[in-house]
Structure formats: C-alpha cells, structure tokens
Symmetry: C2
Subunit: 154 residues, 2 copies
DNA sequence: CGCCTGGCTTTAGTACGCGCTAGTCAGCGA
DNA sequence: TCGCTGACTAGCGCGTACTAAAGCCAGGCG
C-alpha cells in the first residue's frame, strides 16, 4: 500500500528527485541525532547551555556546535537574559520553526513506543481532557487520512 | 513554550535520559538520510531494487546496505515474486512498522514546506474530499493539541 | 587578588555514512 | 555458449558526527 501521486510526481520516470525535495531538505537540516536530542530537551523545557548538554547526554563540544547550527537555521534563538545579581547569560528558546518540528519528534517517539522493543515508552496526553494523543495525518474536514487515501502533488 | 512533564520525567534532575528514550531509539534506527529517502520512495510506490536506487539518487551500494538494514529492523520485508516468463526476483514492501513511519516522513516534508526556503513544496490532500492534509498532534476526543497542552508521562 | 562557575573552544582521535569503481552471480534470450 | 540484465557485494577513500580531555574567558564573590 502506498500514496497516490499527482502532478509532476505522477509523471516521473526513474530520475532522482534531487535536493529540493522537502523531505531531503529537512533531513539535511535536522537529521542528526544531536539535533533531535536537543530539540527533545527544548520541548521538555531546557533553555540553558548546561541543561542541554547534561540532559541530552551529548558532550559540551557537540552541544555547542549543534546549538549554534540550530540558531543559524532559525530553529532556536539565542537571547540574553539577566537574573538579578548575576551576570548576563544566554538562553536558547524555540522559534515558530522549532515548534513546528514537534510532530516530527513525537512521531518518532510514537513509532518506537509501538514498534521498537528496546524503547521505554512515553505516554502523550491532552491537558484539556486527559485523552491520549497521537500524531497523525488529518484533512481539514477532520478525517483521519490513511496512506492509501493520501494524494501527494508535486 | 514547552510541554508539561509528568511521572519520572517531571522529577528528573539533570541526568541524561539514556538510550531507552523512544526518540533516541527511533533516531538510531532510521535516522539516516538513506533510510528516510528509501522510505519516501516506498511511500511513492517503489518496490524493486533498481527503482529504489535510481529514484532515491543513492548509489546501489548504499541502497543495498540500507535496504538490508531496514528489512532486518522489520520496516520493510523482502518477498520473492515471479513475473511470467521471468526469473524469480525480490520486491521490498512496507510492513506495518514501515507504514507507521509515515507521519514522521511527511511531518518532515510539511516542516520544509513552511520553514525552509530551499524546498520545492509538495501538497498533501485527501482522496476522499480533496481537502488539504496536515500532520499534527490530536487527542482521541478530536482536539488538536498544541505544545503547551501536551502532557508527556514517562 | 585569586577562585569558581557558566559557557563555551580547541585538539586529537574514532566511527560511520556515503560515493565511486569494480567484481560477482543467476538465469533468460540469441 | 555467450552475453546481457537485475541485483547485488567488496574495497577504498573522503567528510562529517561524535567523544574525551583540556584549555579559555568573563564576571561575581571571598
């Protein structure tokens, strides 16, 4: 079972899609373990360098390099802040672009929960009604969309 | 803005989550460019080795190695088939586990569509009603769940 | 003045992803 | 029997991700 193709994608022969494919672009941008783990910690509430490094389990060198790259890509922003009686520090906060990656990260978690025995599952629920939460494809009419009902147009 | 934590996650100090975190497990399993591109082609309808290699733009060596790994992980299955008058061949088909990765892959596409200028957007729509499709978090009551309404329990 | 802490940078080294080229093997068709 | 095609496998080399350990720097505090 697969999706339905329309537009240029339907007429494609066997050529590769090239580097403008949005899936490829996204993988090249945030497709490293360090980027995903730092995003995880950002969603879990980290904002300071040391918290990111310690909680992600990455080394400080990797953390510094990846945080800088994520800031350059606009996924995080680096803002100065000052606690009273302390010197100036920086915090890393999610931008709209960074928040838009949430479905990616939690869809990965959801997949491991269900299909990877090695994972210790996490539970997602809605603070409004306590109902379980899933990441899924849905159309604007509110229908859940399975793979064979999805049309991809180039 | 971030999610709300409950259970062990809420009580955590600054320890790293370790290798049982489902997000980490998933990244280690399918977090390479070649795996994602091959999954893309599987969703787009590829089943034969040459199609995977040519359409993904990966070399045959990389394609062979990654397909084997995906089969070992249960994301794809390798099945013999025989066209009349042809010799026996193999095709690679998505398993339930592989189909469950669909939200991950299209959430990546959706993010690039909106936040990466270098991407040539693809459009997702529903074959039932033609309405546009998005990948998002939703609770079983049908409420769309934003980041600040999401509870993550370890 | 000198220590300590937060926030990095540097250096050195390992491992792996991926590309390129070449070689292999099975079986159909000529 | 020979070659061709589909489906790989093997070997080499580059670049990057990541680790570990050490060093650096600013500023508040003793």
């Amino acid at each position: 079972m697969h999706v339905q193709l329309a537009g240029r994608l339907a007429r494609r022969g066997n050529e590769p899609l090239g580097e403008h494919c949005p899936i490829d672009v996204a993988v090249q941008a945030v497709g490293t373990r360090s980027a995903i783990l730092l995003l995880r910690e950002a969603y879990y509430g980290a904002t300071r360098f040391d918290d990111f490094a310690a909680r992600s389990g990455l080394t400080e060198a990797t953390t510094a390099g990846r945080l800088k790259a994520l800031v350059e890509q606009g996924v995080l922003e680096k803002l100065p802040y000052q606690e009273p009686g302390q010197r100036k520090r920086y915090e890393y906060k999610l931008t709209a672009s960074g928040e838009a990656l949430m479905p990616v990260v939690f869809a990965l978690a959801q997949w491991s929960n269900e299909h990877q025995a090695a994972a210790a599952p996490i539970k997602l629920s809605h603070s409004g009604c306590d109902a379980p939460v899933t990441i899924k494809a849905e159309c604007s009419e509110g229908h859940a969309v399975e793979m064979d009902q999805l049309i991809v147009t180039s």
